[in-house]
Assembly symmetry: C2
Homo-oligomer: 130 residues x 2
Amino acid sequence: MQKQTLLTKNQQIIFDLIDRSPEPMKAYSILFNVQKKGIKAPLQVYRALDKLVEIGKIHKIESRNAFIACHNSSCQVAKATAFSICEICEKVTEISSAGLSKYLANFKDKDGMKYSKYNLEFFGLCKKCR
Amino acid sequence: MQKQTLLTKNQQIIFDLIDRSPEPMKAYSILFNVQKKGIKAPLQVYRALDKLVEIGKIHKIESRNAFIACHNSSCQVAKATAFSICEICEKVTEISSAGLSKYLANFKDKDGMKYSKYNLEFFGLCKKCR
DNA sequence: CTTTCTAATGTTATATTATTACATAATGTT
DNA sequence: AACATTATGTAATAATATAACATTAGAAAG
Ligand SMILES: [Zn+2]
Ligand SMILES: [Zn+2]
Ligand SMILES: [Zn+2]
Ligand SMILES: [Zn+2]
C-alpha cells in the first residue's frame, strides 16, 4: 500500500481523466474512457470515485450525477463545496469565496444546530449563454 | 383541465402521500404505495413528481434522490431551497432562514454573476443522534 | 522474513433511478 | 367546432449504483 496522499493505480487513472476534462464527467462515461486502460467494471469506477471524493480530489455535482476535479484548496476535504451551474450549456464552476464559506461554515439553524458539511449548487446562465 | 393551483388526480395522490410521510420518499417507494390507487408505472410517478417540483409543492433532495413536501412558504416556487440532513437517521428538515435566503439570493461570484436559483444541503447530526 | 491485518482490486450479477417512444384522453382557447 | 396544450396509460429500455464473493498487494508488527 501507500501513504494517504498517493493515489492507487485505478484512482490515478480516473482522477487524471476527470482532471483533464473541461466538463463534469459521469460514471459510465468515465468507464467507457478508461476501458482501454484495463478498468472494465462499473464498480471499479465507483470505488475510485468514492475514494477520490472522500479525500477531496474530486467533487460530485449532485444535481447532475457527475464529477469534477477540485481546483480549490480552500474547500476542506470535501466538507464545504459550492458550485455554479449554467442551465443552458451545463458548464460547472467551483465557487471559491471566503465570504460565502465563512458565512455557511458558521451558519446555525433555529435550534442552534451547526453543521459539519454542506454542498451548495447555484443555477443560472453563464457569461456565454446570456 | 384546471387552473394552475389545482392538482390533477395523479399529482394529488402523490402529493398527499409525500405530504403525510415523516421522511423523504423515493420514487419507487412512492410507486409501490400508490399502486392500489391505480398508478402502475414509474413514468406516471416521475411525471407527477416533475410537476410538483416545478410548482414548488415538493422538493427533491438531490443527495438522496428523494422528495419531501414543502412546508416553507418563503422558498419561492422551488427557486431557493435549503435543507439539513442528519447523516445517521437521514432526517431531513427544510431550513427557513430569512438571513440565509437573503444572503444567498444576493450572492454574486467573482464575475459579478447573480444566480436565479440555488439548492443548499447541510449535513450533520440531528438532536436525537448527537 | 513471516505472519497478520487492512485496503484495493477483479468479476459477476443485480438493484435502483430515470427516460424514450408512442398512443390516447381530457381540458383549455379561439 | 376546431385547434392547441396538458395530462394520462403502457411497454420497453437506458442510466446510475450497489451486493456479494474471491483474490491480491501492501502495511504493520514481531
Ligand atoms: Zn473543491
Ligand atoms: Zn452556459
Ligand atoms: Zn420549500
Ligand atoms: Zn438523526
